[in-house]
Symmetry: C2
Subunit: 240 residues, 2 copies
């Protein structure tokens, strides 16, 4: 199934941008009268009929709006520190989009080797991933912020942090910790640290702010694998 | 933690091949008397002391053998059809190794676009992944075979196939289906189809041979994402 993406859908009229118009009218040769499906990235898939096949500015009339199309029964925010290698972060974000995630927050830890993060490229990747996995909602990519600010600003009822507290604290397995979230409407935030892990100060701050320490099992997972494993645990527990 | 890999460990003596020797003695400048950790790829990690630091042929004396080092409490065989893009298969295999898998079987379906599959490169990737995730066992990469032959040859007590039987058959969610496997010692085989899915004939053959139809939830996942999601479901259910 072929999907287009538009941020300009209003009053029953859908306009595709230059790139999507070229793909629609030049590459796929769609003409006036053809029906196309367009996602708004916010959760609605519009069935439309093309009324202007200009390859620089396709316009289509909305026939039907399908709200919550390809949605999942939870809200998941993944705050994940950038990996040294940007590709590995991008694949986490792409795969998490396929599985089901609502917000990706690049967070910079005190021990992060990578302190800068470009969000534009990631946003484009997630639009493609949402189309490919038939979801009308494209996960939000937040502007990068510090681990400490993300901890202070997190208001999800279920907040989990994957960190080894060197035995200071008992930790639950992620699936076990998620059992609690079912009663809270499945609004979940998960914090995943950098290769160098969180600083003890960051971890302590998370506990102060009600984050529940979790573990992802005995395997030693890279940052991006840990993040995808946690997102998959949420999907398997609340989405399947 | 730095690990080396050797297939030549015998009678208390461990020999590194040319590549590992160069990395050990030239790059990392290890000398006689240094202690190194070596995995055999079969499940044992050997603590050794170097007795010959020849950068082309390092020899070390075994001090201690740690059996089942970094192992998981199940046996998982993933029979997965090659993806059109080889990179995507390689990342599935790498990530599944981090999470925990024992055997990867490239299976060629009647609807597979890719009918050939090179295993050498994949084996090298899995050695690196096992080292990186601190596992002494490197997953076996089987020689490619047809979906039909893999179905007929599969003798695992729990056999699952991810396939949409168009409502002909009720399907269980993967985690639900795995509950049964806990009583069978966690010896599991999972079959994941190509982009074009299994042929009805292949699916029917799987049912005849006792495969249980499963689904991976409402998300539409690419082949490699479906495979990793299934492997992660096993890890979360039996390994965490």
């Amino acid at each position: 199934m072929e999907l287009f993406y538009s941020q300009d859908i209003d009053a029953g009229v859908c306009r595709l941008d230059g790139e999507e118009s070229g793909h629609c009218a030049r590459v796929l040769r769609h003409r006036c009268g053809d029906e196309i499906n367009v996602i708004d990235g916010l959760g609605t898939m519009y069935e439309c009929r093309i009324c202007d096949d200009n390859p620089r500015a396709v316009v289509a009339q909305v026939l039907k709006a399908n709200h919550g199309w390809g949605s999942h029964p939870y809200r998941l925010s993944m705050a994940v520190c950038p990996t040294k290698n940007a590709d590995r972060y991008e694949w986490f974000a792409e795969k998490a989009t396929e599985v089901g995630v609502d917000c990706i927050v690049p967070v910079i830890g005190e021990r992060s080797e990578r302190k800068v993060f470009k969000t534009d490229r990631l946003r484009r990747i997630l639009v493609s991933a949402a189309k490919q996995s038939l979801k009308a909602a494209v996960p939000e990519v937040a502007e990068p912020l510090s681990v400490r600010d993300s901890i202070k600003g997190c208001d999800a009822p279920v907040k989990l942090i994957a960190y080894c507290f060197e035995g200071e604290r008992p930790r639950q397995g992620v699936t076990e910790a998620l059992a609690a979230s079912a009663e809270t409407g499945g609004d979940i935030a998960i914090l995943i640290g950098p290769e160098g892990d969180f600083s003890p100060g960051e971890a302590a701050l998370a506990l102060e702010h009600g984050f529940v320490p979790i573990h992802l099992g005995p395997s030693r997972l890279r940052t991006e694998t840990a993040a995808l494993t946690a997102a998959t645990a949420v999907y398997l527990r609340l989405g399947v």
